[in-house]
């Protein structure tokens, strides 16, 4: 089990805490725009139809998110958000599978 103890994960996430305040309870919209839902559903549908393992999608998503360089101390509102990363990951995977 991975019970994290402070320093252990610092290297892993390379994100340092900052003074920026966290969103509160009410900030809990799941989707903002219609395209986010479609992109979300397509990634799952393709996995469920056996075009790829979920882990393959997930690992691309992780690298997309990491490449944004956004941290708590340094939020970048001008950079793409979560579902933009999701969409780019889907496009990459579809190209890799020669579907796109």
């Amino acid at each position: 089990m991975n019970n994290l103890k402070g320093s252990q994960v610092k290297a892993e996430i390379s994100l340092m805490g900052g003074g920026d305040s966290l969103p509160r309870k009410s900030g809990d919209l799941v989707f903002h725009d219609g395209w986010e839902k479609r992109a979300f559903a397509m990634a799952i549908a393709l996995h469920e139809s056996g075009y790829y393992q979920w882990e393959e999608f997930r690992s691309i998503l992780i690298s997309e998110i990491n490449s944004s360089g956004e941290t708590a101390a340094n939020p970048k509102p001008e950079e793409p958000g979560y579902y933009e990363h999701w969409l780019s990951s889907l496009e990459k995977l579809l190209r890799r599978k020669e579907i796109l």
Binding site: M1, N2, N3, L4, G6, V9, E12, I13, L15, M16, G17, G18, D20, S21, L22, P23, R24, K25, S26, G27, D28, L29, V30, F31, H32, D33, G34, W35, K37, R38, A39, F40, A41, M42, I44, A45, L46, H47, E48, Y51, W54, E55, R58, I62, I65, E70, T71, A72, P75, P77, E78, E79, G81, Y82, E84, L87, L90, E91, I99, L100
Partner: protein, 213 residues
């Protein structure tokens, strides 16, 4: 932050990250291009995507996790199965599926309070909690909850006793965590249905506590 924000508006960096109209139409086009292609190849249908969105928006959600917690509060044997093998005990109640594999349920005690994060992306137990709220997916939560959990919990309005240790659990593809919150003392003896109403999503992530009544 501009001063004309309403007081009720949360300080949510994600909300600042809204796209303008032009960006949104570009994104819409990228998505509809993929969708049209997949439909023309017979890989997906519009109806199956609609149905899937409906399931994720309506059928999966914290109401399922709340059932699991309420049952654990009222049934000791279920609770020990749940802590032993989360995936199969949760499956007994009919909740399973993508991102619901490899579930580990961790119990809050007077000594330890547990809180869950996914530092790498957004791993989250969909069948029992639904899709994650936006703050769970954003960099501030993913980094700060590990480094200063007590402070972050306080920002959520959750104040724990000084001597209760906070443990942070990092979900991944291998293990997805869910917190079993402590049953509020005032609710002992209440029916399972009544208890379901006390269990909040945030209490199962660990950033909050159940309602007391």
């Amino acid at each position: 932050m501009s001063s004309n924000h309403k007081h009720s508006e949360p300080a949510n960096p994600y909300l600042e990250k809204r796209r303008n109209g032009e960006e949104t139409s570009e994104l819409e086009k990228r998505v509809s291009d993929i969708e049209a292609l997949l439909i023309s190849k017979g890989i997906v249908s519009k109806e199956s995507l609609d149905r899937m969105i409906e399931i994720y928006e309506n059928d999966l959600g914290p109401m399922n996790g709340a059932r699991v917690v309420a049952k654990a509060w009222t049934d000791d044997e279920f609770k020990s199965r749940l802590l032993q093998d989360g995936t199969s005990a949760i499956g007994e109640l009919g909740f399973s599926g993508l991102q619901g594999e490899h579930m580990v349920v961790i119990e809050n005690t007077p000594e330890f309070h547990n809180v869950v994060v996914c530092t790498l992306c957004s791993c989250y137990p969909w069948p029992v909690l639904g899709l994650p709220p936006s703050w769970y997916k954003d960099a501030p939560y993913r980094s700060r909850i590990v480094l200063e959990p007590r402070k972050v919990l306080e920002e959520f309005g959750t104040f724990l006793p000084e001597d209760q240790e906070i443990r942070v659990w990092d979900s991944s593809a291998e293990i997805r965590y869910m917190v079993l919150p402590r049953q509020p003392d005032q609710s002992k003896g209440a029916s399972e249905d009544k208890l379901v109403g006390l269990v909040t999503r945030d209490s199962m992530i660990g950033v909050g506590l159940p309602k007391s009544s």
